[in-house]
């Protein structure tokens, strides 16, 4: 190992916290939440305004809270409550869903991509 090797490793390791901070940090928060019910047009809600939404799905009403720039399922008439356990979503691109109730919640931010994914 040479001194330059050591320097490269140190620089690489030092850049890591920066990367974590950039991509997991506060400036990667979403600004809006997209709520999709079945195959209807998505409804957008701002994450900046705290509110409680009652979204009518296939089984009944799902209660979604928007608080401090995060959104979460609080109540849902589904059997497993996966949506509630997935917790608060706040990062750009975070997505959770209550599949039995056919409700999808995804956080969007500035410059959001047009596609969710492309499959081959």
């Amino acid at each position: 190992m040479t001194r330059l090797d050591l320097l490269i490793i140190v620089v690489a390791l030092a850049a890591l916290p920066l990367l974590y901070w950039q991509l997991w940090g506060p400036n990667y928060r979403g600004t809006e939440v997209n709520i999709l019910v079945g195959n209807q047009k998505a409804q957008r809600y701002s994450l900046l305004r705290d509110q409680t939404l009652a979204i009518r799905g296939k089984l009944g009403d799902s209660i979604i809270h928007i608080k401090n720039g995060s959104a979460a399922f609080i109540q849902s008439p589904c059997p497993n409550k996966q949506c509630i356990h997935s917790g608060w979503q706040h990062r750009n691109g975070d997505t959770t869903a209550c599949l039995p109730n056919r409700i999808t919640l995804s956080v969007v931010g500035d410059g959001f991509a047009r596609f969710d994914s492309v499959n081959f």
């Binding site: 040479t2 001194r3 890591l16 691109g93 975070d94 410059g111 994914s117």
Partner: protein, 181 residues
Amino acid sequence: MNTTIASERNDHIIAWFAALAIAIHVLESAIPSPVPGIKIGLANVVTIVVLVQFGWRTAAWVSILRVLVGSLIIGSFLSPTFVLSLSGACASLIAIGLAYAIARQHLSALGYSVIAAVAHILAQFWTAYLLFIPHDALFHLLPILTTVAIVTGIVNGSLALAVQKRLKLLMSEAPNVDQQP
């Protein structure tokens, strides 16, 4: 560009090391990965050793041949896996090529390996983002992937150093085997 045809001896070196790298590549593909996208990339040890011992051109041949033939054997040729693999290999080669040109006296296998690993993951990530999964959530993976890349870079680099030590021993025991400059 230098367009001279490589010597026959150099061809043999490329073929032997490429074969070794392909074998490692194929064997490693049989090991299940805990998280998709995370792999040790042991075949890169061969690339790094070849780079330090025989120069960048030979290393580039070995690396590209490994990706091409390895994908043909595994059956991922021209699939997204192959595209990602090729983009990573090309980026690594460019990065270590630059490092080799600028600072070859000051770098060992370890430095090259870390540079290659980071270039590899960044190129793969951007390829994946631009071609296959243009979803912003993908960026949450980048810090983890980069951390793993640096760790595997250090591991592979240390392995390459160890291999080099053995290789030097072998060559000193067999004095009639001359080392290619």
